[in-house]
């Protein structure tokens, strides 16, 4: 009797193992901030879960305990012969590079940086393009001709947001004034809503009526300020309108989930390709958000103008300044 159950267990285990073998195994290495960061990592996680559900792949997610752990975590996945290892965030660049060399047959995907290795699919988002559209939208809705930008940590990536946003604003209203503030220079800047609120209140006080928050979790403080002052704010990364439906004009979408899902889908179809993939306004990898909450705020005329701009960016008629290129 006992041995029968044991046998049954063994058989089940083996059959599971056998079926698992047929499935694709996807490993996801998240940054320190983890899968509940309401932003970037969460977005990647959502994309992965969607793939699990719709494409029937096996997934395993791991959150790095510190910035030195990426290499060993990716390596552990590689040693377990996962079919694809997805590394989220520019912090993982060097770890991906090293592991890509060490495991030349292993497929990697890196989000937000370009690893330039032949077995790595690098997904980069043209944040400046998306910010440009958002800037234009903000300028269209500003009554005071003054808009704000609140960045999280003062790093090149966020400068890229800022530059695109400013260009977008100036395109619609060359006389417009843009207030810019950064929360700080440490990791804490991503997670400091009270300070963000202070900065936002200050910008509103100086006459801004729309503020774009590219500040991770700290953005919540900006939304609070917008609600309190009955002004508007713009979210970032994922569609954040649901947080304060009446105060959030739109969000600068960065479809990390799409890029993750797409890559897994391609892998399953056998069409996975390494190399740099840019997600710009063309593929709507970066975009402005339209949803049930802001449908009344964003008029058809707005959309028409924004789509024109999109076309011009895609055709090259408008050159959106890119902080990365300027610095070089």
């Amino acid at each position: 009797m006992k041995s029968n159950t044991l046998l049954a267990v063994i058989v089940t285990v083996f059959s599971f193992a056998a079926s698992a073998h047929a499935e694709l195994k996807i490993g996801l290495v998240l940054e320190k901030s983890g899968k509940d960061d309401k932003s970037f990592n969460q977005s990647a996680y959502v994309g992965l879960k969607r793939a699990e559900k719709e494409l029937g792949v096996t997934t395993k997610t791991v959150e790095a305990p510190d910035n030195s752990a990426y290499e060993s975590l990716q390596r552990a996945f590689a040693e377990k012969k996962f079919d694809l290892i997805i590394a989220v965030g520019f912090h993982q660049l060097e770890a991906v590079k090293k592991n890509a060399e060490r495991f030349p047959d292993q497929k990697f995907m890196l989000i937000d940086e370009d690893a330039k290795e032949k077995n790595v699919r690098s997904a980069m988002f043209e944040e400046h393009e998306g910010s440009y559209l958002i800037g234009a939208l903000a300028a269209m809705h500003s009554k005071t001709g003054k808009v704000g930008f609140i960045g999280g940590m003062d790093v090149p990536l966020i400068r890229r947001f800022q530059l695109g946003y400013e260009a977008g604003v100036k395109k619609i209203n060359p006389k417009a004034e843009v207030f810019v503030n950064y929360l700080g220079v440490t990791g804490d800047a991503w997670n400091n809503p009270p300070k963000a609120k202070e900065l936002a209140l200050d910008q509103y006080g100086r006459g801004a009526d729309i503020i774009f928050a590219a500040a991770g979790n700290s953005g919540l403080g900006v939304f609070d300020a917008a609600e309190a002052q009955k002004k508007l704010a713009i979210g970032v990364d994922s569609d954040q309108s649901w947080i304060k439906p009446k105060s959030i004009l739109s969000s600068m979408l960065k479809r990390v989930d799409e890029s993750v899902f797409d890559s897994i889908k391609l892998l399953k179809e056998g069409k996975f390709e390494a190399g740099l993939i840019r997600y710009g306004v063309k593929t709507k990898g970066v975009d402005y958000a339209v949803n049930e909450y802001n449908a009344k705020m964003i008029t058809d005329a707005d959309k028409k103008k924004l789509e024109e701009l999109r076309k011009d960016i895609v055709s090259g008629k408008i050159k959106v300044p890119d902080y990365y290129l300027i610095k070089k």
Partner: protein, 385 residues
Amino acid sequence: MSDNLMVVRTSFIQRFFQSIGVSSFQALLRSLIKSFAGAGLGLAAGLLVCYYAGEPPLKILKILYQSSFGSGYDFGMTLYYTAPLILTGLAVAIPFKAGLFNIGAEGQLTVGALAAAWAGVLGAGITSPFLAVLFAATFAFAAGGIWGAIPGFLKALRGSHEVITTIMLNFIAAGMTAYFTLYTIKDPNSAQAETIPVPESFFLKPYEVFNGAPMGNLIWFLIVLAILMHFWIWNSRWGYCLKALGENERAAETYGITKQRVWVSSMFVAGGLAGLVGLVEILGNSHKFKIGFSADWGFVGIAVALVARGNILGVLPSALLFGMLQKGAGSLDLETEKVTRDLSYLIQGLIILGVASEGLWDGLSRFLGNHLKQRARAKQTGGTK
């Protein structure tokens, strides 16, 4: 009453232990057993939690072991996590001898690491690896040391409490290093917030056997450094002043120990040691200063010193324990379904609690001791009847 005491003869072995600051072999053993038993108790509690979360304890143990020592790479990574903790553990334990609570190791190591990276920029022409590393080490030690000495000075001059000032200096260090990283020696070829990489002559080569883990000769240097620090604290005049001041400030002052001097010097040494984390990280691992590179080593160093029970030599095993746990945190997340990163932090916390709750241990051993004594007595009286 004195007849009951064991006659203390100073044998060679005892003198050796006295020279490294342990009054006897038994005392060392007792303290080691206490710490390890505490760690065991904490681990057992952690495993119990895992068991209820649905993971068999044996599996957890196996993962922890594999993650720490399973391969050359794993061991190398464990040592990589251990190395900074040795330094920050010392940076907390040494001022603690003088009665100072250094919460600023995080800031000191940040400043030291930036200095090491800067040394690479300034000393780009140095081709001799030995000189290059020495140059960077001097920079890192001096920068961390000065950063550490500031709270010492403030306490000496103004009486400001070092806990407050070191915490404040942590923030200032973060801001200041970020500024220099972004505006002064930023790597123009990188989109990230990091400095210009140090030249190859500054690299500390990792051991082949670690198969890619960034750790080499440095670990030996750190072990020797810890042993030397221990020896120095216990045998030098400086160490004597530290201990005397730490134990009884008024007595030390009455007998001519200048507390201001001890405060500044001990904080300088502590800050310098923390600054040497720059060697581990900049020369050994990433070869550049990245904002936010530290896995809170400065703060974990407080726990390291705590578990070492203020014993300088004890920092070594204690740092290894925390290195293993830090390495294991990711592995547990990866290898199990139920134990997430947060749960592995919980296990860490329980182990610290187990080791640190000295009172609990003393109470327990006293209870057991009394219990055994009573039983023995019961037996004796039973026997005589």
